[in-house]
């Protein structure tokens, strides 16, 4: 008996198996000697080698060698220029890798083609040459610390060393995300052993290909393969040879990794974060509220809420020209409009069931609670807006375009709902009068939010954002400081002063 996957029913043309790995370190004979398997993701067959500890050892050894040869001593600005040229290639709609991504990623992920196309374009713009300069400037007062010792504020010298090799566990929820990890590692002169995600393993491979086309040397500093998460022997082999490990993963996978990364090796986890929006009364003016609703609808709908940047909840201030209920209705209308233009991905049964369950739960509550209302697409689960006047807590969305609207009297009312989640909060999209922005940002920051942006821009963080509250680059480097006193003291040992013709105590007296 065949159990049908709904996505297998889509009528797209079958495609030939695509190689979803990037291994410039291996020659043809070595590649042929590997055991290969083909996995179907969505309706796309993806081919890759079976990853063993032995393969990882070989890859790490060659990645380390490449890093020493072509990356360790390359000036940071040269690396930046190269990455900038790679990203510029992706702005060309005819770039073969971009065309492959636009053709296959919708079929792999189920996201609407238009959403993938725009999403990739907007995301990659974050890494244009001018924005890369911002990345560096955000984390380093003087980016030349990556090339050599530079004066520091304490009166000495400092130099930042990136990892020689970083094992990076990539996310698969939002296409394009691994570009962030790959670019950050290159900027601090680290090679990357990338573990691609089961749900979307192709993008990092395509991106790495363009790096190699632009600069084959840099390409040899990147390897991308897929292995099942939690394969302890493989990961042990990788971690033992890495100077850092990053992971964009769920809570359990992150905990598991954190236990296994050797002590002393920096572990930089990204993920398991939630975001939300706050709409002030000023944004509910008769001339503004529809546009505000459209922006919020876009934030919710983009990538079907799968990203950590997507809002789960919208807090709407009372006292505006339209009340929160009317705003919720406008939001629902805009969610519907977005669905017409960029339909949500088809869901697995379990995902559909989760949306249905939340709808039912709130519908039943609305019988006895006039403060609860469900506005939803029908038939089907394309989008759902739930109004809840008195939430017990900040309840996470089951994702896939389900958003709760909570009316509030003031931002202060939001604080008790945010505090229990303070370790998990990420982006707050805000819409308010200019004079309130600073006060709101202060309050939100105190609650744990690490990014405040305008509604409508939640899915596109600006270059240089302290990703999840840390420096994207600073989190990867270690520092070596030369103390100012050492500089002075070594003068003692200047051979000029230690020659017998001088008195023994003359050093330093200049």
């Amino acid at each position: 008996m065949t159990l049908l996957d709904p996505r297998a029913l889509e009528g797209a043309e079958p495609v030939e198996a695509v190689d979803a790995c990037f291994l410039p370190q291996l020659d043809d004979a070595e590649l042929a000697a590997l055991e290969w398997t083909t996995r179907r993701v969505g309706d796309v067959p993806l081919r890759g080698p079976v990853v063993t500890p032995a393969l990882v050892e070989v890859l790490c050894e060659r990645l380390l060698r490449a890093q020493a040869e072509v990356l360790a001593d390359r000036p940071v600005m040269e690396v930046l220029e190269t990455v900038g040229r790679v990203v510029a290639r992706w702005s060309d709609p005819d770039l073969p890798q971009r065309r492959t991504a636009e053709q296959l990623l919708p079929r792999i992920t189920g996201y609407a083609p238009d959403m993938v196309r725009r999403g990739l374009r907007d995301h990659l713009r974050t890494f244009r040459r001018d924005r890369l300069l911002r990345f560096l400037a955000q984390d380093f007062d003087n980016p030349l610390v990556l090339d050599g010792f530079q004066p520091n504020r304490a009166g000495g010298l400092s130099r930042a060393y990136g990892p020689r090799l970083t094992t990076q566990v990539f996310a698969g929820n939002v296409p394009g995300l691994p570009a962030w990890n790959l670019v950050c590692a290159l900027l601090v002169k680290s090679a990357t052993l990338g573990k691609s995600a089961g749900a979307e393993p192709l993008f990092p491979v395509l991106f790495a290909q363009t790096v190699a086309e632009e600069d084959p040397g840099l390409g040899r500093c990147l390897a991308v393969v897929h292995w099942p998460g939690g394969a302890e022997d493989v990961e042990q082999a990788a971690f033992a040879r890495s100077d850092a490990v990053t992971a964009t993963a769920g809570l359990r996978a992150t905990e598991s990794l954190a236990r296994r990364v050797p002590v002393g090796v920096p572990f930089v986890p990204y993920g398991h974060k939630v975001s939300f929006a706050v709409v002030g009364s000023e944004a509910l003016a008769l001339t503004r509220y529809a546009e505000t609703a459209r922006r919020v609808a876009r934030d919710v709908s983009q990538y079907d809420q799968q990203g950590c940047l997507s809002p789960h909840v919208v807090f709407v201030e009372r006292g505006g020209a339209v009340d929160p209920r009317a705003f919720a209705a406008a939001l629902a209308a805009e969610m519907d409009r977005y669905e017409q233009a960029r339909p949500r991905a088809r869901l697995r049964l379990e995902e559909d069931a989760a949306v249905t369950a939340v709808r039912a739960q709130y519908e039943l509550r609305s019988y006895d609670d006039p403060g609860v209302q469900v506005i939803a697409s029908s038939p089907g689960t394309a989008w759902t807006v739930v109004v809840e006047e008195r939430p017990e807590r900040f309840a996470p969305s089951p994702l896939n375009r389900v958003v709760r609207v909570h009316p509030v009297d003031a931002l202060e009312d939001v604080v008790p709902l945010l505090l229990p989640l303070r370790h998990h909060l990420q982006t707050a999209g805000v819409a308010c009068a200019p004079e309130r922005l600073d006060a709101w940002a202060s309050l939100l920051g105190r609650c744990g939010v690490d990014r405040v942006c305008a509604v409508g821009q939640m899915p596109q963080p600006a270059a240089g954002w302290h990703h999840d509250g840390r420096g994207s680059l600073a989190a990867l480097v270690r520092w070596t400081d030369v103390e100012g006193a050492a500089e002075t003291e070594v003068e003692r040992y200047d051979p000029e002063w230690t020659r017998p013709s001088h008195p023994p105590d003359a050093g330093g007296r200049r």
């Binding site: 995600a197 519908e363 807590r393």
Partner: protein, 391 residues
């Protein structure tokens, strides 16, 4: 509750018709599935029960109205709207004043008592008839009584557990001499159970073990640690239910049956799993034992739907039935679920066996909500974080 059938005022007319239908189905049941006349009678009973529940169950009435489903307009059991499980948490779905209920069974899933599902039973006559008829048909077709060894706490310890009540009623109704419960306040009474198994083996008296799946894992682990195995006499059998819910390591059903064969000497087909839940009043048994007893091939393993219930698999997004073989959420129409709502949308995934509802169904497990993709947070993970933040 003390395990005795509660005394209630005389049953109403509809209750008597339902009771007669359930009890008669033991005699009239054909392993080939319902006849046309039986299907028509099921429809009549379902619509009458729906009308009664619509009338007396206010929140359910509201739920039906929102879907344009009213008695008189609903023409067949398939059109009776199923309530999701959350309705048993959010609402009091009782057809009679809740305080007069003979039993209120609650789910065990949540730590927050206010968020537990509750199923109200004004009386348990239909519940008892359903459990007896099903058990006899699928677990005890060959004899009137059997020595039953229960690996689950008694109702005194768990007064609101439908499982504890269910198992105690089975012992009351079908338990031969030597039947007993082997879980107390201190947990599994392993010594007592081993003694009972040894006695059964020595005396050649077949036994039936009844319990949750994870209870057997604990038993099997203990037997393995002690290096002990039994060859229980022919006619011995095992009934298990439920998943593992973090109470023991997860063991696939096949592996559990293999281990039960090795450690207890119970043949594969005589290891029967049943599926039931607090929100309904019927149990669905594997057909393997009955088929083996009838001399038929016990495979494939499917769950039987008794004549007083219907099971559908539906699309989770639209609620529309999906064809046999295709995964869907399970919907129950259970005539024994007298006190609340006869139609229930479960959170379990399964598919109908080929041959339609009469062919039974295959239970695949719980719908686990949306799995976290990448850095988006899984629902349960965040809920756990949330609870942690509150404490």
């Amino acid at each position: 509750m003390n395990g005795r059938s509660p005394t209630v005022p005389e049953l109403g007319e509809l209750d008597r018709r339902l009771l007669a239908w359930i009890e008669a189905s033991a005699q009239t049941r054909d392993d080939g599935g319902p006849t046309q006349a039986q299907e028509a009678e099921f429809d009549r009973l379902a619509l009458d029960l729906f009308a009664d529940q619509y009338e007396r169950n206010r929140p359910y009435r509201r739920y039906c109205r929102a879907r344009g489903a009213e008695p008189g307009q609903v023409r067949g059991w398939r059109e009776i709207p199923p309530v999701p499980l959350s309705a048993f948490r959010e609402l009091t779905l009782s057809c009679a004043p809740p305080e007069q209920a003979a039993a209120v069974f609650t789910t065990s899933g949540s730590t927050d008592p206010g968020r537990r599902g509750r199923n109200h039973h004004p009386h348990l006559h239909l519940y008892d008839a359903s459990l007896r008829t099903g058990f006899r048909q699928w677990f005890l077709p060959d004899r009137a009584q059997l020595r039953l060894l229960v690996l689950n706490p008694p109702p005194e310890q768990q007064p609101h557990s439908s499982l504890a009540y269910f198992l105690q009623r089975l012992v009351d109704s079908f338990g031969a001499a030597g039947s007993g419960t082997f879980v107390g306040a201190e947990g599994l009474d392993l010594d007592g159970l081993l003694a009972a198994l040894a006695a059964a083996e020595r005396d050649g008296v077949p036994v039936g073990l009844l319990g949750t799946s994870f209870a057997y894992v604990h038993l099997l682990d203990a037997l393995e640690a002690a290096g002990t195995a039994f060859r229980l006499p022919p006619g011995s059998r095992v009934l298990d239910t439920g998943g593992f819910k973090g109470r023991s390591r997860e063991v696939p059903a096949e592996a559990l049956r293999t281990a039960l064969g090795q450690r207890l000497g119970v043949p594969d087909a005589w290891c029967v799993n049943y599926y039931g839940m607090t929100e309904i009043s019927t149990q669905y048994y594997d057909t393997s034992l009955r088929r083996a007893w009838l001399g038929r091939d016990p495979a494939p393993r499917v769950k039987a739907v008794p004549p007083w219930a219907r099971v559908q698999a539906v699309d989770a997004g639209t609620g529309r039935p999906v064809p046999p073989g295709q995964r869907g959420l399970l919907v129950h129409h259970d005539l024994a679920n007298r006190g609340s709502v006869l139609a229930v949308l479960a959170e379990d995934v399964g598919h109908l066996a080929e041959g339609g509802p009469a062919g039974g169904f295959v239970l695949l497990g719980r719908a686990q909500g949306s799995a976290a993709r990448g850095c988006s947070l899984a629902l349960d993970e965040l809920l756990a974080a949330n609870e942690g933040g509150r404490s």
